[in-house]
């Protein structure tokens, strides 16, 4: 596998940022897009566009087939049992809101508990918080340890007879910790508790096998997987999608509409009301092809090797402190520099074309726990190289120089 050849597939790297080559270390926020994905959006709108599922004309039939073809590709990529377990949404956020809303409506009552963790992104906390207000449910937090991990023991500690669902990240977007989802699912199911996995960071970087993980719900963000924005995926076991009520009402999700009653459409239409992000879904098929062409094992190995290199380099740089030290780390490396606020770091790095993210990364609960208001975060994609970490390190040294640090 030649990373430089893979990198050439991403046209963004042909551009200069502040007169420098772009060092893109913000893929946990959103990944860059390969030419094939960009072209697919253009081609679809230029040559093949029609709305799907409504009309009988040639273009509508062809577009519908393309759209459904992506569903099949996703099913295969994540090893779901049935293609109707794949629901397209506007993002992972909507996928989690869909579950919180419909599961909450049908199965939760006052006093029931949802167990999340201190690692969660706001999008896997706020939707459950809504149920505190509307249903009187409780949200409990499994504790993060000093290494930035959540252990199966800390989850066990917070499970009670009232726990109905565990909503948990696959890979922390701040500490990079990879959580033992399969074990958590086994534990949860032995107590009749459902599991929702926030797979925003997991999906681009880990092997996805829904039948092996056995979770009930898995939320995916397509724009972090080299795909278009405005698109997410909810994987849900078929029995839940059949049993839960619809989320949004509108065209496309109905079977029959009368003045005195409405029946809802079959899966997957039941959860895809209105005109969907058609071009994005069709282009996302190219993202799956791109990932399959490289192979997930190659992706994992490349990113692991890179991460080990980056960790060593930053550890050697005095005044840099890594945030979290998980035994199993994904493509995320957060750090602080004693005496320089992360926003100042990000501004100075940007001048050298080094794009990182600074702030609380939508994880205020975690930052409060760690006793810091913000961190700087370097996150990887398949296009990153060791040279990117070298550039990051030399830009960090420039920060230290400007701030008169040693």
């Amino acid at each position: 596998m030649n990373i430089l050849n893979i990198k050439k597939e991403f046209p963004i790297f042909n551009n200069k940022v502040n007169n420098n080559d772009l060092v893109y270390l913000d893929s946990a926020n959103s990944s860059q897009k390969p030419q094939s994905v960009i072209d697919r959006v253009n081609d679809f709108y230029s040559k093949e566009f029609s709305n799907i599922g409504r009309s009988v004309h040639y273009l509508a039939v062809a577009a519908t087939n393309l759209y459904e073809n992506t569903r099949l590709s996703v099913q295969k990529y994540i090893n779901a049992k049935d293609k109707n377990e794949i629901v397209f949404t506007k993002g992972a956020t909507e996928a989690i809101n869909l579950v919180a809303n419909t599961f909450g409506q049908k199965f939760l009552k006052e006093g029931d508990e949802i167990l999340i963790t201190e690692l969660e992104h706001h999008s896997n906390y706020v939707p459950w918080h809504f149920l505190r207000k509307s249903k009187g449910i409780k949200v409990e937090f499994a504790e993060v340890n000093a290494d930035g991990e959540v252990s199966i023991e800390s989850i066990k500690k917070k499970i009670t007879s009232k726990t109905k669902l565990i909503a948990i990240t696959h890979l922390s977007n701040v500490t990079g910790a990879i959580l033992p989802i399969k074990e958590i699912t086994e534990l949860a199911h032995s107590k009749n508790i459902l599991v929702l996995v926030d797979g925003c960071q997991g999906a681009p970087h880990l092997k996805l096998d829904m039948q092996d993980l056995d979770c009930d719900f898995y939320a995916i963000s397509c724009h972090k997987m080299y795909g278009p924005t405005g698109l997410g995926i909810l994987y849900a076991k078929k029995k839940w999608l059949e049993e839960l009520p619809p989320y949004q009402g509108g065209g496309g999700m109905i079977k029959e509409v009368k003045k005195d009653g409405i029946s809802y459409g079959d899966l997957p239409n039941k959860y895809e009301a209105g005109t969907m992000a058609t071009a994005q879904v069709i282009a996302f098929d190219q993202s799956i092809k791109f990932l399959e062409k490289i192979g997930i094992n190659n992706i994992i190995n490349h990113e692991h090797e890179l991460m080990e290199y980056g960790k060593e380099i930053l550890k050697k740089n005095n005044s840099v402190k890594l945030v979290g030290n998980p035994k199993k780390r994904g493509a995320v490396l957060s750090f602080t520099i004693e005496g320089i606020h992360p926003h100042d770091i990000a501004t100075i790095l940007d001048e050298d074309g080094v794009a990182i993210r600074a702030g609380h990364h939508c994880c205020q609960i975690l930052h409060e726990k760690l006793g810091i208001t913000a961190t700087a975060r370097a996150s990887l994609g398949i296009y990153n190289t060791k040279e990117d970490f070298d550039k990051l390190n030399s830009s960090i040294n420039k920060c230290k120089k400007i701030f008169n640090l040693k």
Partner: protein, 156 residues
């Protein structure tokens, strides 16, 4: 403009050793400010005497070098000035940090203007303007006795 010029010595110095970073005893006005994008917080306290003159001003909070330096310089400048003078200075500063090439305020002497102009580099970094203005918006809120917390997302 480069970051070396943005982070002038005076900003670094005020950022590292902020003046008036404490809580005023017997303050009679205060307000909180928050930047939801980065999580930075500031709490400004002022003690006004009968003549509406600022006897003491202080702030608590944490943030980047630019926000800490801005709050530090701001509190040093307004001490001893009257409420209406301060409001005029704030308007002048906010105008400068966004578009105006210089400060026009009659309530600032040349030395004070020079100090404030050290923050002017921020206008080249649009994402960072809010870091520089947070404490100033919070001071207006304190003077006006507004109860609602200042939120940088509500400003242009």
């Amino acid at each position: 403009m480069n970051t070396k010029e943005l982070y002038q010595e005076i900003i670094l110095e005020h950022g590292k050793n902020p003046r008036n970073l404490r809580k005023t005893d017997n303050f009679n006005k205060d307000a909180k400010g928050h930047n939801p994008l980065c999580g930075d917080n500031v709490h400004v306290y002022i003690k006004l005497n009968e003549k509406k003159k600022v006897e003491d001003i202080s702030f608590e909070g944490s943030g980047c070098a630019i926000s800490m330096a801005s709050a530090s310089i701001m509190t040093s400048l307004v001490k001893g000035k009257e409420e209406n003078e301060i409001k005029e200075i704030i308007n002048d500063f906010l105008g400068m940090i966004k578009i105006n090439p210089e400060l026009k305020s009659k309530n600032l002497n040349d030395d004070e203007k020079t100090k404030l102009m050290c923050l002017s580099g921020v206008k080249q970094y649009p994402m960072r303007v809010k870091c520089a203005t947070l404490s100033w918006h919070t001071l207006i809120s304190a003077i006006d006795n507004k109860k609602e917390e200042i939120n940088t997302e509500k400003f242009d």
